[in-house]
Structure formats: C-alpha cells, structure tokens
Amino acid sequence: MTRILYAKRKAAIRQHSSRAGGFVSTEKSGTKLAAFSNTFIAVIRHLVTTVLCVAIFAGCAVNRYQAPVSAFRDRTQQTIGVLGDFYSSRNSYEIDAYLQVVAADSKLEVLETDAQGQPTPLGRPVFSPASIKARLDALNLVGIYAGRLYDLANTTAPASFQTSATVLGDNLGSLDKTFQKLQGAADPTANKYIGPISGLIGTIGQMFLEHARDQLIKKAIADGAPQVDSILAQMRDDMDNIFSKEVVTGAKERLAILAHAYNVERSQLTFEQRTARLLEIKAASAEAAASVGSAPSNVVSSMMSAHKALVEAAASSDKARPMNLAALNSALEAWTTQIQSLAAQVKLLIH
C-alpha cells in the first residue's frame, strides 16, 4: 500500500515539475520548495505506514464493547423490572390465596389469627418485608454494575487519555499547521494533505481512547464479576428453593379451590354465574401452567449466562476476542428472547 502511495507521489511530482506555473516555478525558490515538499511527503508516508500498522496490530480502532455492554445494560434493567415486580408482590399473592380459601367456604371467617393461634397472611406477611427489601437491593446493585459498564463503554472524554496521545498528537498537530501555512501559491498541493492529517490526528486520538477504555472495562468487569455472579447465584437459588415452590403450590391451590367450589355449588348457579366461574377457573388454569415453567428462575439463569459470556469476552486474548464477542452476542440475544417470553408468564403470577 505504501509503495503504491510512494509511486503515485513520485509520478505526481514529475508531472508538476514539467508544468509551467507549478510549484517549481522559478529556479531558486522552486528548488527549495520541491525539497521541502519531498521531505513532507516522506514524513506523511512514514506516518501513514505507522498508523496503519498500529491500527492493524491493535485490532483496529473500534469500540468493541459499546454494543454488547449497552445491550447487557438494557437487558439487566428489563430483568430487574420483571424480578422486582415479582419480589414485591409475594405477600399480596399470599393474601389473595388466603382470601380465595375464605371466599370458597362460607363457613370461614376473615381472620388475622386462626383458631390454632397462628397468624394468617392478613395478620403477618408470609415473607418478611426486610427479606424482600434485601433482595430488591441486591437486584439494584446488579443494575448499578451494568450501568457503570455502560458509562465506561460510552465515554467520550479524550481529555482523560490525553497523556498517552500528547507526544504523537503534538507532532501531528504542528505538522497540520505547517501544511495550512503552505497552502496556496507557495505549495498548491499542500492543501491535499490538510484533510488527511486532521483525520489522522482524530483517528490516532480515538485509538488511544479505545485502548484506554478497553482496559477500564476489562478491569471493571474483572473486579465486579465475582460479586455479581454471587448475587445472581443466590437469587436463582432463592427462586428454585423458595419462590418457585410457593408459586407452583399457590397456583394449584387456587385452581383446586375454584374447581371444587364450582363442582359443589353448580346446581345452585345460574348460567351466567356458572360462565363467570368457569372463566375464573380458566384464568387459574393458565396461571398454574405458567407457574410450572419456573419463569423467574429462568430469567436469572439466562442473565447469568450472558454475564458469564461478557466476562469471558473481556478476559480473552486479541485472537480469541472476536469469537468470544460473537458468543456474547448470542447469549445476549437468547437472554432477550427469554425476558420477552418470561415477562408475560411472570405477569400471570403477580397479583
């Protein structure tokens, strides 16, 4: 590439030299300018070569984290929304279940304490509010982590990376000014270099920005990942060991109560009343079916998979990175699909 540039430049110089009124206009000043231009041409050629080499060996100047980290942040916020609603509704769900039992049996009273002295869901929350709050706080922490990664991936503060870029940037900057002075009659071809040099300054600055940003993101992920993994694993265990059992038995109980009440009372019901009751039973059946799928647990599991892929992509070598970023994108797409289908199911479980 550089040999082609050099050959073209030499051909252009020969062409200019033979034209009357070109920058080799008078014998004395023309010689000096020609030598000056040749020097600058050589410098530009060297710089272009250097920049191209740096770009190639640095894996090209692309913010490789912006898209996947932005997607990770967005999916995290959606997941937090779905799971936050789920956690917050656990006690009202149990109050509903208790009132359903009372509604189905006209002999039962609404009580805060039952005949055995045990509190009902009206008398005492089934899940302690402090426990629910702790889980919501943990979720929010994961959201903050994803938000910080997003901020890092989208920073546009080259001033932070000025030190790295200063030396080369200063040299390129003065070269740019020199060409700006040269443009016009002194060297009509000088202005052709101004645009590319300005572009190069921007490109090199961006490359230092990308490299420093990459390192910051790698460090942030390496530092935060173990804690995030721990929180998500605990949350998934919560879902599997506590809340999925609560929900699957609650949904089944609701269906069984409605069905049994209908069977006992159906001969006393009008057609409209039977129809209304059967619609309730249908809704309860849908909830029971949704509860079996362990929707909240699956949301957390898919988030854990995407986070694991993000950690692997950040820690990978330059050679392995494209493959790991592709794996991350796949995990993010799978997570997106899971959230969409599971959000609808979780909605059925929230009362």
Partner: protein
C-alpha cells in the same frame, strides 16, 4: 444445618390438589384431599425458610415420612384402592410437620 425436604413436600401438596379435582374420587374424598393440601401448603410456607440443627431426629423422621407419602400418592390406582388409609397417612404427616415449627433453630 438441616432442612425439611420441601421439594418432596411440594410434590405431595400438588398431588393432593390434583386428586381433589379427580372424578374417580367421590365429592367427600375430593374435599378431604383439598383440605389436606391446604393444610400442607400452610406448613410449606413456614418450612421453606426454617432451619434445624443437624441430625434433628424429628426432621429426619419427617423427611422419611414425606418420601413414603409421596410414593403412595404417585400411584393413583393404589390411592383409589386405599383412599382412607392414604388420607390418614397425610393427616399424620400434617401433624408431624406442624410440630417441627416449634423446634426450628431459625427462619431465614
């Protein structure tokens, strides 16, 4: 720390509810399964977060009992043939699980 086998308890509860909607049982038997299922679910909500000291005899016994009841309930033909006996086994289980709440070391 030891915990009650809440996975098996969940299965037992759901089987009780299923039999409460099973037309092979008469209405009284369906009512009985529904009532036991509701009692067991109330106990489940408390036992989900209960922890017991290691090797607590009452917990070990309850877990074995849970396993036995679950096995009985999983065979619908056997349950149909011995409905009264099965319901009595469930009632005994309810009683034992209820007693566990008084010996729990902590509730997390």
């Amino acid at each position: 720390m030891l915990k009650v086998d809440t996975s098996t308890l969940t299965d037992v509860i759901n089987q009780c509810f299923d039999y409460s909607m099973d037309g092979r049982f008469d209405l009284n038997q369906q009512s009985a399964f529904l009532a036991e299922g509701k009692r067991l679910r109330g106990l489940l909500l408390n036992l989900l977060s209960a922890q017991f000291d290691d090797a607590t005899p009452a917990v070990l016994k309850a877990n074995k009992q849970l396993d036995a009841v679950n096995t009985s309930l999983s065979n619908a033909t056997a349950v149909l043939a011995k409905t009264v006996q099965t319901l009595n086994e469930i009632a005994a289980l309810v009683g034992n699980l209820d007693k566990l709440l008084n010996v729990a070391a902590s509730f997390i």
